[in-house]
Subunit: 300 residues, 3 copies
């Protein structure tokens, strides 16, 4: 079993992951190791920077009793010598029971899965997908809202290049949700994703500033590099910032999410608000990844 | 419990660490794993280069049966995306039972401790403090001299920017010692540290060349970058070099210490002298860090 | 015991390694951990990039129940501060039961062994030697051919700078083999190695293009940087490429090997040919390194 994309994940599969995540949560909270993956090895191939994804996979593997091999930095690997991804995968599959890969190219994880006999988990491929992030986001919403059906969800910021919102939109679309997509015109959700969602019968509304009355307000980082000049960036990005001022207008039950790292999308003054859930969301990466690792390696 | 600075450490606390280090020493020497921290995870966040501190913390954690997650290089982490230290810490505390942090900014470890619910250990913060180094230095002196009271200790080299000598000076100042601070005028011990020490009743003498008759001669590296021109550097640095020539004048019972890495402060010809203790000092990093890890994570 | 070079390895020692590798192979295939090195620590000091060597040593150590500490990148270690290799080794030997070192300088592993009280394994030193690669190559040949005596072996490509072929040539020379060395004139096998081989009574033939009728055809990468201009490189390198066209002329029983990473020396169309053995060869790195680790640390 590979974890490549949420696009073709069934509602049943997602619910199964969430249920298993719930069983892992007490272990992750207690930080007390179990033996479920004792003797198993996870390879982590990070061709791009990561803190959260890499460290939470390492922590998850440790908590399940397994070990990790891998690299952080393609400059320290044979990739520097010109090795293809297919070759790297065919070599590394001999060393591990499963592989997590993060790569700048869209489709890299799917390509890896084609060449690997061990399970591949996509840790982010370019602007395409980040399915384990989406599953931990789903778990966070379920924990906080008690349900996944019947919710109005606003995804805000860079919806064009943001792989976390692509994955989350598809995952949520297996449930009865309605979307508000809030982004600058130049960073709108890709047309084919919107078309996919609509053809699943999902309501999608697209707007140019954040909508503060949803059940879920999911903010993402707008990267400076996406804009031709800094003034244009500042003018645009300021409409997607949540600070103590905009907080006043936020819905009483609107939970605030962010995949982190944030730069200035959410000001530190928001952190102690009861609706701010981005740090607990980050923590749920551990039980969610424990569940996924156990599913692909121990067949639970 | 956090380990941030030796400045406010009590004599009792230091003696407690040294006693526990003594119990760890046979395990470190035998390199035989015990179960004391089995199932625990240490996060190592190194924002600056390290061999000794990082590897000895890893080895210490392994010997106690625990595991390590972390990064070596901020370029491979979300720090590259502009994440604040406070956010990194709030995320990583969810993944580990304790965090070791090395950071170029003074005060970084204290800041981390403010945001973390798990213990923070300072692995070096800019020119400020390196408390675990000081504790292993103390252990080395105790082992070699049999006591910490009544010693004359010379700290030599770069006393201005050297965090190891700052930490060691404060740690020793809880005991009955007298100091000789030997440094170029431009690299003298900061005035406020000297004032702190004197107000503790400690005798401090400041000189411009190394004093070879102390009980302890602690040398440190003088960095080229601190000097406007290379000739000035060479002229100044040469007064703080221990070679086979200066060795002849060294006190019969003067132990030679260095936090390592050394560049040319101690010539290789000194290595086999019976008074040279810098390699055993480096080894004591393992039992000292084992003791500290067990104290913060297993509450021994 | 150190593993520095195949030059002085006896036939008995090599046969012993291969026998132990055979016992490790089922464990490596099943990817099921045993306790042979439980509680032991391997230090991996990689001063140069590596995927295969580093990850397979990590995987081998994990499978034997041990743990790994180390660095991938000298920029994140004290080497950046100017520390000598001798000092790094004297420090790291205190942290581990054995050390694997990869270093750009020829003779680095031998130097390390001089300063270390724990076993040193050479993971590649400049253009000199890569003995653990040679031993896994030997194991691959033995597995595929059922014997090591009586074989005709072609080593092709960059024989001047290629440490894998230097090590393999010496290892094979302890058996009854004959060599074809196929390389551009500027990249011929060093004269002193050829002299050593001939004085062992080994037949050596040197040619300028690949010989496709041997029992073993061992290809290596020719690096662009070795040639003054790109056209010269392209003209020369093309004679050492195995593609679907040259495959037609390949001997029915000629096994194709490559230490990997490959760039374009073997075209992907060759991968599914039954004579292509480079991926299984890469996998044998795990049991071979398990055997070596167990030999140096558990004295099996």
């Amino acid at each position: 079993m590979d974890i490549i994309s949420t696009r073709n994940m069934s509602r049943d599969f997602i619910e199964d992951v969430l249920e298993k995540t719930k069983k892992m949560e007490p272990i992750a909270k207690a930080k007390k190791q179990v033996d479920m993956l004792k003797g198993k090895t996870l390879a982590t191939l990070f061709f791009e920077p990561s803190t959260r994804t890499k460290l939470s996979f390492m922590a998850a593997m440790n908590l399940l009793g397994g070990t990790v091999v891998g690299f952080d930095d393609p400059r320290t690997s044979s990739v520097k010598k010109g090795e293809t991804l297919a070759d790297t995968i065919r070599v590394v599959e001999g060393y591990a029971n499963a592989i997590v890969i993060r790569h700048p190219n869209e489709g890299a994880a799917a390509l890896a899965a084609k060449f690997s006999e061990v399970p591949i988990i996509n840790g982010g491929d370019g602007s395409n997908q980040h399915p384990t992030q989406a599953l931990l986001d789903m778990y966070t919403i379920l924990k906080e809202k008690g349900k996944l059906d019947g919710l109005k969800v606003t995804l805000a910021g860079d919806l064009k290049y943001g792989r976390t919102v692509h994955s989350l939109a598809y995952a949520l679309s297996k449930f009865d949700v309605s979307f508000v997509f809030a982004s600058p015109p130049s960073l709108r959700m890709p047309r084919w994703i919107v078309a996919d969602l609509k053809s699943s019968g999902i309501s999608v509304k697209e707007i140019n500033s954040i909508e503060v009355k949803s059940d879920v307000l999911y903010l993402t980082r707008i990267q400076k590099e996406r804009f031709p000049d800094i003034e244009e960036y500042q003018r645009v990005a300021s409409a997607y910032i949540l600070d103590e001022e905009t907080l006043k207008e936020l819905g009483e039950e609107t939970m605030i999410m962010h995949p982190l790292p944030r730069v200035n999308e959410i000001s530190p003054g928001v952190d102690n608000d009861r609706r701010a859930k981005y740090f607990v969301q980050s923590f749920y990466g551990v039980p969610t990844r424990m569940a996924l690792l156990a599913m692909v390696m121990a067949d639970i």
